[in-house]
């Protein structure tokens, strides 16, 4: 898809909401790490909220113009190099922090990764995914969780929830970006679906932390003069954080909708088509499958065949009434050997004059089982 604004279609609100979710995740993770290992006063939180919001707006609005002029291979090489360097930095930082157990070192690392978070947000639109800021936010959550207590609990629960919302919005945005503008009012539905899936996890983790508050890393040595924030101070800090976060989110939601330029991509071999407004209609209940009474061996063969048809319908294969059993067998995505055998046995049992033998009934049931098993594997995840 070419560069084009998509005002008026359902994509822009989702892009803006995705930016808000990414901002909330970044701010939450950074604030958690800063509250855990530094003084984390109101001024620092306000500064973090403002800087993160500013760099995200810049990154989302003008990032696509910063193309670096690199070809695909060079871009991949750069991405791999940066990822390897960053992973090394993370391992080194966590090893040093855990090994020394110095609270001051952990505080410095929290600051460094907060600055890195801002840098990732500034370059947010460069890669195909938003893995950079997400990975760095998780590192900040890991740093916060080493502190234990309310800070760690809030960092983990909030981090997972915000990560889930971000992923849901990112997914919806990417799917919509790949197609021409059209009817799609998906923001509310995306948030509802994500909330429904995340709620049990968030509630479960909250109950776990209430019942068993997380302990800090045992080997950390805190300075005697600074034993760390008390729970009331943490609660007050989070109240302030919510205010800063809401202000930043509102700003981001408005500005990203105004300034954002879409940048979707699709294989040149694939044509993304715009749709006419689809007509929705109620689906007639399919007639019950062969309610006739077939007794004995004839009945067993017919039942085996009907069970195969029922499974085929479950996996989405529909046939027309005009199709004969052999037509259906030719189109059914199932192992051809057992299917052909079953079809022949069914045709003989259903329309033939002679009562089938016991061997034929057993063979039909076995073939039916094999075909149903083959049909069940067709959905790939």
């Amino acid at each position: 898809m070419s560069e084009a604004t998509r005002r008026g279609d359902g994509l822009l609100p989702i892009l803006a909401a995705r930016s808000v979710a990414l901002y909330a995740l970044s701010l939450h993770a950074a604030a958690g790490a800063l509250l855990a290992w530094t003084a984390g006063d109101a001024g620092m939180l306000a500064l973090a909220a403002a800087v993160l919001a500013l760099v995200l707006i810049i990154g989302e609005s003008f990032g696509s113009s910063l193309d670096l002029g690199l070809e695909g291979t060079s871009r991949l090489r750069l991405r791999v190099t940066v990822a390897a360097a960053y992973a090394s930095l993370v391992v080194l930082a966590l090893t040093a922090a855990v090994g020394t157990g110095e609270a001051r070192l952990l505080g410095q690392e929290a600051l460094i990764f907060t600055v890195l978070q801002a840098a990732f947000l500034l370059l947010v639109d460069l890669g195909r995914t938003h893995l950079g800021p997400v990975a760095n936010a998780l590192v900040l959550v890991v740093l916060a969780s080493l502190r234990g207590g309310v800070v760690a609990a809030v960092a983990v629960v909030g981090g997972l929830a915000l990560l889930g919302f971000f992923l849901a919005l990112d997914h919806a945005a990417r799917v919509l970006q790949a197609y021409p503008p059209g009817r799609a009012d998906l923001l509310g539905a995306t948030l509802r679906r994500a909330a429904a899936s995340l709620a049990p996890i968030v509630v479960g983790l909250t109950i776990l932390f209430v019942l068993s508050p997380p302990a800090p890393l045992a080997r950390v040595r805190f300075p005697a003069a600074a034993p760390g924030p008390r729970d009331e101070e943490v609660a007050a800090a989070y109240r302030r954080l919510v205010v800063f976060g809401l202000a930043g989110s509102g700003l981001i939601f408005v500005l990203v909708r105004l300034l954002r330029r879409d940048r979707g991509a699709r294989s040149p071999l694939e044509e993304a088509l715009s749709l006419g407004q689809g007509i929705e209609e109620a689906l007639a209940e399919p007639p019950p499958l062969v309610p006739r009474d077939y007794h004995g061996r004839r009945g067993r063969i017919v039942r085996a065949y009907v069970q195969v048809l029922a499974r085929a319908r479950d996996v989405g294969f529909l046939w027309r009434p005009s199709q004969t059993p052999r037509d259906i067998a030719a189109h059914l995505p199932a192992p051809s050997g057992p299917l052909d055998a079953l079809t022949e046995l069914f045709v003989g049992a259903r329309y033939g004059p002679d009562e089938p033998s016991e061997e034929q009934a057993v063979a039909a049931e076995r073939a039916g089982q094999a075909v149903r098993a083959g049909l069940g594997r067709k959905t790939r995840v």
Partner: protein
Amino acid sequence: MGRAHTAAYRRFLYAALGFAGLLGFALRVEALAALALGGFVLLLVAWRQARGGLARLAVAREVYPSAFEDDAVPVSLVLDNRSRRTAWLVEIRDSFGPAVADRQALLEPGPLRAARRRRLVYRTACSRPWGVYTVGPLTLSTSDPFGLFHAERGVPDVAPFAVFPRVWPVAGIAKLGARPSLSPQELTLARSGQSLAYLGVRDFRPGDDLRRIHWPATARRGAPAVKEHEVDLVPYFTLLVDLDRAHRAGTGLKSTLEYLVRTSACLVWTAATRGDLVQVLGEGARTLALPPGAGTMHATQALYELIQAQQEGHVPLLDLVEHHRLHLPAGSTATLLSGTMFLDLLRLEEALGALQSRGVRPVVVLVNKDSFLPIDRRAVPRDQAAAQAGAAATLLRSRGVPGAILSAEQDLEAELGRVDLFEAPR
């Protein structure tokens, strides 16, 4: 959206959460272990939702199975949701063979509620040249709400789709021998038949149509009598196509096969649209034998047969004429479409004479194969080709047979549209 995006986050989460879990258990930090646990539960929930996303979701295609080159084709996709859940962001991929793009991708953003059907229509163009293509298979795909797992299912709905050559009216055909039934020059035969020309009255026989009872005669004779009509010589157009393997030349749009098929299509379509009974005969790798018939459906069937024709035959055109000429009705038009100018002129003259003596009006269209890029045999020198063209034209003029010679350098559309196409072979 491809699997790459869904896989990137999923693989990252596997690695990051695994690392956090290991760190949490090794250092006995409960918050880290809980982070890993919560993350893996999220992945599990997503996997289950993706797996169930396609359950009882079905798609089928409805498309008219033929079109002309460059036509826009509406393809209707019927998406059924037979599950109890609402479907969101369902992607459908189709493969429309005559289009330039390999695949066509559509999105049903949702909500498609339970037990509902949505009919989606996309338009694409037949950008590829005439021939028989396939449409399908269809692919349905969706993801979990977080886009971490991708579920895809193929629907083996594959059907042939015929692209017919674009037909241009052949202006010159209007002057040829076929006649509409009610024209002033209507030809009938003084035998009992079905025309509007009155022949006489005869006694009623069992099976006679009651509407044909002649009531005054019945009253006079005291026995039922019926009206008789003469045989109506309906306009009858026969196309004899040369599909001899020896006359292959050129490639793609500039080939003898292209000229033969496209010219045949234009002749058949023009004759059929003005109401002629049309039949097509040829001997390629398989016999091309379209029985006489009228109307658009019959013309469409003729086009369908023509686009499947191959120049793989071994029967010369004049043998084909010899074989079929006795079955051509008087008053009809027979067009001989040859892939070469180098027909045996003596035999051609003989065949034309035989047709004319039966009251059949012959028309000869010669494709100059030597003007195309040679494939398996050398092209005849230009002067020799010009001499043959002159001899053929002289023969046609001497027998009063309309004819035309088509060459690679000519624009076929313009040439077939010429009113004087059959008057003086060039």
